[in-house]
Symmetry: C2
Subunit: 424 residues, 2 copies
């Protein structure tokens, strides 16, 4: 039995079923990633992380737990990692991006639920993901109907805590969010036995901001006329950001960015001349969901920006770094986490449309693709405003709905290929 | 041109399309209602109201507006009518229950949206419902994703105000709801130019409670072994409760209840012996959605209780009637409107399951049908808990999903027929 298998067995996983996933992943990764030309050398670190995604990092987390540490999983970029770090715990993302987990979710959830939510519950109930076995606490939120109600079912099997995210962004909603963050701090103090001090919360803010700065640096290269890294690689890095140790991640990403800086000096592009620059907007693309990037980048397009949770929304805004009282720093967290993330769960959400228009200019995009994960009602409905605003701004835009299966791949290739072809 | 046509024309309605609806309704009403045997005589009032549903009441509302009055429409039983009444305005329901309006909604909303929401937007955008033309203010809420985002689109065409409904029922959520009610009061004072006084709010609480009491009285007869009124007629009365003048409605319903009291004394039942008693739970049945009641009551069943917004949730709990300061009475409204309505929009929502079990006993039901309007994610997901709890309580239960079309009628008849047949 391999070390990984021992680890997974100790976590109570369904080894036989999980092996099927382990067998499929290298092929998928090879097709999408290793087939690319001109990849930066320092993608090696990220390749390694994803190649053993259920081994290396889970083993670290278990080791941390053996020393008494706690691991906290979450499903949404509104949940502030800073609080987890400040309590001396490790934060990890839990969103699931593979069809492999969907049927398990469908055993307990309506079919008409988005694949991300179904996969998340399937990963837990089927015991086929180590992260879903390891976490000492699962932090859900009330962002959308699907998640809000799914957490009730997940809580039958996993230790859950729910943060109630405001649905608007009025002054009273910011105050409410501060309160929720304080409840969350208390919960984590209870979980870890540690006290969250000003010092620790301030350190955590700096650590998280440094991770964001590294992602911002990565994205800055994607604004160049000659883009030195592919959309696929950029997406992978954003996805890994949710799982990796934040300090190591920032360091490795900065090392990669040094390489990209060299490329930029030499005006080196991974894309052929005439490749169309695409901004993706919409629902998140959780690991290993690389489907759309792969289709776009093999159809004459380059994804240069993701106005998504797995993209700009995660990294663009920093938390104010001024050191203050706990109250003041919580206010700064509330301002950033509520004020600067323009999820379709808010009403109204005009700021998202404004963001797309701004990003389309900054990243000099030729076209916008508005992606919706099937049965995500909030992004689907908001598509009305996105597509209207793009028409008014004269930015070509198409709306795409997809899920985690490969069934629509050919159809998407045709539609996206036609869209890119008509871009000037 | 008939008086009604003049009224509708003045309201800017699409007369030609609306005439198609007017032509279809009498047939539908005849099939479901006039075909019944043993209807109480005093259903005549309610028959009249529905026979001219787009004429009589709209004409009253317009007359009220001509004298400077304001009409406020809402879509959810969490929105307190008392505030509207206290401001001297008229409150009217706006939920739409006909497939006629759905295609109009689908022009602006995702197909994967529940028919109630699609019909509501269609009724406005297609200009085929007088209530959707008359209202001076449309009050939406953040109960579910579909509505929350649909209101943004509706607000492009109609004057909207949004109440932010809490997603949980903790102490702080009750305080939040009090605040939202106070915002709403302010909005209505601005709209009407009237001040909401203690006296007026107290009167409004009494008026609304009296309407609820009349509905409670109606429902009390449905607990009897010999049920003197059909589920179809009871549903119609509940549906009309949202549109009619509250004082007149209570008076007419009490008059009907006097007749039912006579019937009860004589142990008169509208049902044949051996008819199975059914409790319906789930999503609301807006007028003229009579489909399920019709199928059940022509398949050997009697609907004796609706654990629905068009049912128990609307009428069962009263607002505390103690006269107090505005703050105190708003607290009473918050307690009732947040504390006593167990919509699936809340997390967790165990109280709803407890209600179903309690109601199943009180109404001596033989079986429970859990109804979901297609694409209503919150009730669909909560079905997991409903069906589990019914299994545990030994109450036969089936889950049904349907929409406003007639396409599934035959399939539903077969499933519901088989379910009723197997009840002992």
């Amino acid at each position: 039995m391999s070390d990984n298998h021992v680890l997974w067995k100790n976590l109570g996983m369904d080894l036989e079923t999980h092996d099927l996933l382990c067998e499929a992943l290298p092929q998928a990764f090879g097709d999408v990633y290793l087939s690319q030309e001109h990849r930066p050398e320092r993608m090696d670190y990220f390749n390694m992380v994803v190649a053993d995604i259920h081994g290396i990092r889970p083993a670290e987390l278990v080791k941390f737990q053996e020393k008494g540490g706690k691991v906290v999983g979450s499903f949404c970029i509104h949940v502030p990692d800073e609080v987890v770090l400040a309590a001396g715990a490790i934060a990890t993302g839990l969103c699931s991006g593979s069809q492999f987990w969907v049927p398990g979710g469908e055993k307990v959830l309506p079919t008409a639920t988005c694949p991300l939510i179904k996969a998340s519950l399937g990963a837990r109930f089927d015991r086929t993901c180590p992260f879903f076995r390891i976490c000492d606490l699962f932090v859900g939120e009330t962002t959308c109907d699907g998640k809000k109600k799914a957490w009730e079912i997940l809580s039958e099997d996993a230790p859950m805590y729910i943060m109630d995210i405001p649905q608007m962004k009025r002054d009273e909603d910011f105050l409410k969010w501060e309160k929720e963050i304080k409840f969350y701090m208390k919960k984590l103090e209870e979980l870890t036995g540690n006290t969250i001090t000003e010092e620790k919360l301030h350190d955590a803010i700096l650590t998280s901001n440094n991770k964001r700065r590294a992602l911002q640096r990565l994205n800055s290269f994607r604004k160049l006329d000659n883009v030195p890294i592919s959309g696929r690689d950029s997406l992978l890095i954003h996805q890994i950001a949710f799982y990796d140790d934040p300090k190591r991640f920032a360091q490795m990403l900065n090392t990669l960015c040094d390489e990209l800086e060299e490329r930029a000096k030499n005006e080196f592009s991974v894309y052929k001349k005439g490749t169309k620059r695409i901004l993706l907007t919409g629902t998140p693309l959780s690991i290993p969901n690389w489907k759309l990037h792969q289709i776009i980048e093999t159809s004459g397009g380059a994804v240069v920006c993701e106005e998504m949770c797995t993209g700009i929304r995660y990294s663009e805004a920093l938390v104010n770094e001024e050191k203050g009282s706990l109250d003041e720093m919580v206010k700064n967290l509330s301002d950033r986490y509520l004020g600067n993330i323009h999820c379709a769960c808010f009403t109204p959400n005009r700021a998202r449309v404004d963001d797309i228009i701004r990003l389309a200019q900054e990243y000099k995009v030729d076209g916008v693709i508005d992606v919706n994960l099937k049965f995500c009602n909030i992004y689907d409905t908001e598509g009305y405003f996105v597509e209207k605003a793009m028409r008014e701004a004269g930015i070509p835009c198409i709306g795409i709905e997809t899920d985690y299966t490969d069934e629509d791949a050919e159809q998407l290739k045709t539609r996206i290929g036609a869209f890119i072809e008509m871009l000037q």
